[in-house]
Structure formats: structure tokens, C-alpha cells
Amino acid sequence: MKQQQFIDQQRPLWDDFRRLADELDKPPRRRAQAELARLPELYRRLCADYALARHRHYSSGLVEELHDLVQRGHRLLYQRKSIWLWRMVAFVWSGFPNTLRRHSRAFWLATALFYGPALAMGLACYFDGDFIYTLLDPFEVASMEFMYDPANPLPGRSEDRASASDFAMFGYYIWNNIGIGFRTFASGMLAGVGTVFLLLFNGVAIGGVAGHLTQLGFSATFWTFVAGHSAFELTAICISGAAGLLLGKAILAPGRRSRGEALKWAALEAVTLVMGAALLLLGAAFIEAFWSSNGAVAPTVKYMVSAVLWTALILYLGFAGRGRDAT
């Protein structure tokens, strides 16, 4: 068939398709509903025309025009749109905890990498009052001691932030802590080395501070301050670490897939973990800003709330959404 005959014969179909695509580019409310069902059929016929035009070596211009139409159809047909509210609920209820349980080995490894050094450094600082100086310089130690000094009316606030309100601190915790979670995940891209380093480093820092302050006898202010948000914050850091370790594993030991494929698959799983961890960190930031800093609450109440939060978190991560396919 000559090119022009082909064009004359098929042009109405292409124009139909173009009109439909224009319709679909409009916001959903202003679309004519009945037309939409024709998309797959028109698109398939368009694909056939494009394949024919290429096979018969028609002119580049014609092939390009059809190529761009097919491209447009491809994007329209294979886009994913869903109700985001429902997806959020499904994510929190089953997607996140299910994914975490699928990768429990990575989670426990990250937990060990974090709590191991924390415990070691904590004990060292508890038994030796000067050991903290191997980690922090004297200014940092002084600032940290000031924060949790029982004489400080606002425990947990350093000197320069003494005047900051709870809400300002909420913003600060979001920016700082969720950022740390994201970086812990992302540095897994350096073959896991970055994640391991950040987990060890944070473990040593947190353990050191805890041990040093306990040794100074500041338990009352320090432990009551951190008790509330510890469940969400520490667990979220370990989950971010697990996500980073998944990336590292895909690069170092991709298994039966190619490195590229393994990485894509691991990243998809890991991003679920990171987003879950970000939500936990958001909760931790809220608790830390509005509850932990509240000096009026009795220590017993704070410890009880902490126990409730730890139990709830363990139950949630261990059991929520069991038996459902994680999607």
C-alpha cells in the first residue's frame, strides 16, 4: 500500500485517538465519561498502525508522528492512580509492618549494630567519668550536662535553645531527626558502609551520653526526658538502618538477580521501611516536643507511658496486618 493511501485510510482513527487523549488530559471532573472505554481499543489499533508504518519503511515524519501518539497512549494507559487516603491506611495497617517482618534479619542486624556499641559505650562512660571525652569535646560535654542538669528548668533544651517554644522544637525535631533517618537509609547506597557507620556512630553517641549522665546522677532528668519518645525514635533509626542495609546487600550480594535488578527490588522494599520510619520519627518528634519536655509530669507517669508506647509499638510491628498480602 502506498503511504498516502495508508494515511488517508487511517487518519480518522488517529484523529479520534488524539481527541480522546486530549479529553484524558483534562481534570477528571470535566471529562466526557462514555468515551474513556474506547482508549484500549484505539490504542491497540494505533500500535498496529505504528508497527506497519515502520515495517513498510514509510517516511520518518509519519513514523515519528505515530511514535509520539503511541507514546502518549502508553503513558495514559499504564499510569497508576489510586485513592491516596486508602493507600495510606493500607500502608500503615499492613504494608509497612509486613515489609518489616519480611526483612527481619536486616532489622535485627541494624538493631545489633546500633544497640551493641550503645551498650558498650554506655557502660564505659558509666564506670569512667572521663571516658566521654574520647567522643565529645569539653564544650559539647558541658552543653549536654547543662541540658539534663536537674537545676535546668527546661530539661532537654540546650542553653541557646532555652527560649524556644515546644512548637519550634517540634519543627526542629522533624527537620533534624527525620533527616537523619533518610540519610541513614541513603548511605546504604555506598555498599552499606555508610549505613553501618551511621548506626555505629549514633549508637556510640547516644550510649555515651546516657552512660555519662547516669554516672553524674542526672538519671531523674535524663531518663524521664528520653523515656517517652525513645520507643519510636530508636526503633525508627534501626528501621532506617535496615532499609540502608537492604540496599547494601543488593550491591554486595545480589543473589540470583543482576546487580541492577536486585538494587531496584531492594530499593522498592526499603522505601516502604523508610517511609514507615519517617512516620514513627514524626510521632517521636511530637512526643519529644510536647510530652518529654513537660517537667510537671511525675517520673512514674512518664515511665508508665513509655512502657505503654514500647508495648504498643512492639505489638504493632509484630502483629499488625498479619495474614494480609503486603501491597
Binding site: R54, H67, D68, I174, W175, I178
Partner: protein, 224 residues
Amino acid sequence: MLQLDTVHTFETPEGVDLSLRVAGPLPRALAWVLDTLIRYTVLFVLSMVLLPLAELGVGTFLIMLFLMEWFYPVLFEVTRGTTPGKKAMGLAVVHDNGTPIGWPASLIRNLLRVIDFFPVLYGLGLLSMLINRQSKRLGDLAAGTLVVYAEAARRADTTIDAEARTLPVPLAVEEQRALLDFAERSSKLAPGRVEELAEIISTERGPAAVQTVLGYARWLGNGR
């Protein structure tokens, strides 16, 4: 085979090949500069408005800082398919299979930005883009995404303004296609160049040669 064009070809489920033109480091760097400028301008304006509001303002500003730092590209990519900076450079982000980018892929490629940025100014990202055939930075590798040129829909003008002439010799398919392409593009070229090209295969000279060659093309395309 050494390829100059950065064309990425993939097959759709319908069994046809589509191709995308992948963008290299330079337009992407410029897009990033534009996005960064937009980001900091917005943050600057926000700081002017929010910071004097004391307590509540400081908290809100820090939350905005967090969102702008991590989610600015994600929001634009998922809702528009491209960020304002990329759009200005004519770029868009798509999955490897040409479909529009979704939440997971966009989150992955933008969270991993910090590693591409490492150690300074996209050092690792640039290295990865130079090594990779499809100019992917590390975030693109993990997310399975491509940054491509967003092409405007092209329309073919297939009318040939000449009297059909039969070919003096049979032509191979590739040669026939070259004639059709010549007819299609002749309206976009300078008249002198069109004549020059036509004279390669025609014994005539000047506009007459163009008419002859266009005539062959019309015979191939239209038959009469």
C-alpha cells in the same frame, strides 16, 4: 557499536518499540540550579514572613525547610511528571518502561540524592551518569527511572507538491525511504540546500532537479 545519540528503546506490552531521548548531565545540572534557586527563593520569602512570628513561625519554618529539602522534587514529579526546573529545560522523569513516575520511584530517587551529591556537588552522581549508558545517577539506578526530553507531539506533513514521475530504476527500500524523507524535509531546508541535495541524483540542475526528485517521492508515496 558506538552510539552518538542517547536514545533508549524499550518494547511495550503491545509489542511495539518506543524510544526516549535520555538527557545528559549538563541540562540536568542546569535544571537542578533552577530548582535550587526556586527552592531558596521560596524559603527566603517564608523566612521573611514566618520568622518574625516568633514561636509558631519558627516551628512552621523548620517544617517547611524539611519539606522543601526532601519532598519538593517528589511532589512535582508525582503530580506533574517533572519539576519546574526540569520543565524549563524541557525534561521529564519516567520509569524505565516509559510510564509516568509514581510515588515509590520518585521517593527513592530523591532520597538517594544525598548520596549522589556526595562528596561535593553531585560528585558520585556525575561519575555514575558518565559511566552509565542512560545517564543515570545512583538514585535513578535504584529507582529504575530515566530523565528524558519531553518531546512535543510531532505531526507529519506528507503532502508533496509536485507531479508524480515514475522511477527510472528500481530502488531499495532504504533508498525509497530517503526520497520520502527528502520530500518531507524540503520545506524546512534552505532552497539552495534543497537544490544541492536534489542535484546529487538528478541530471538536471536547479529547481528542475528538485521538481524531478519530489516527483519520484510523490510516485513512491502517493502512486500518482
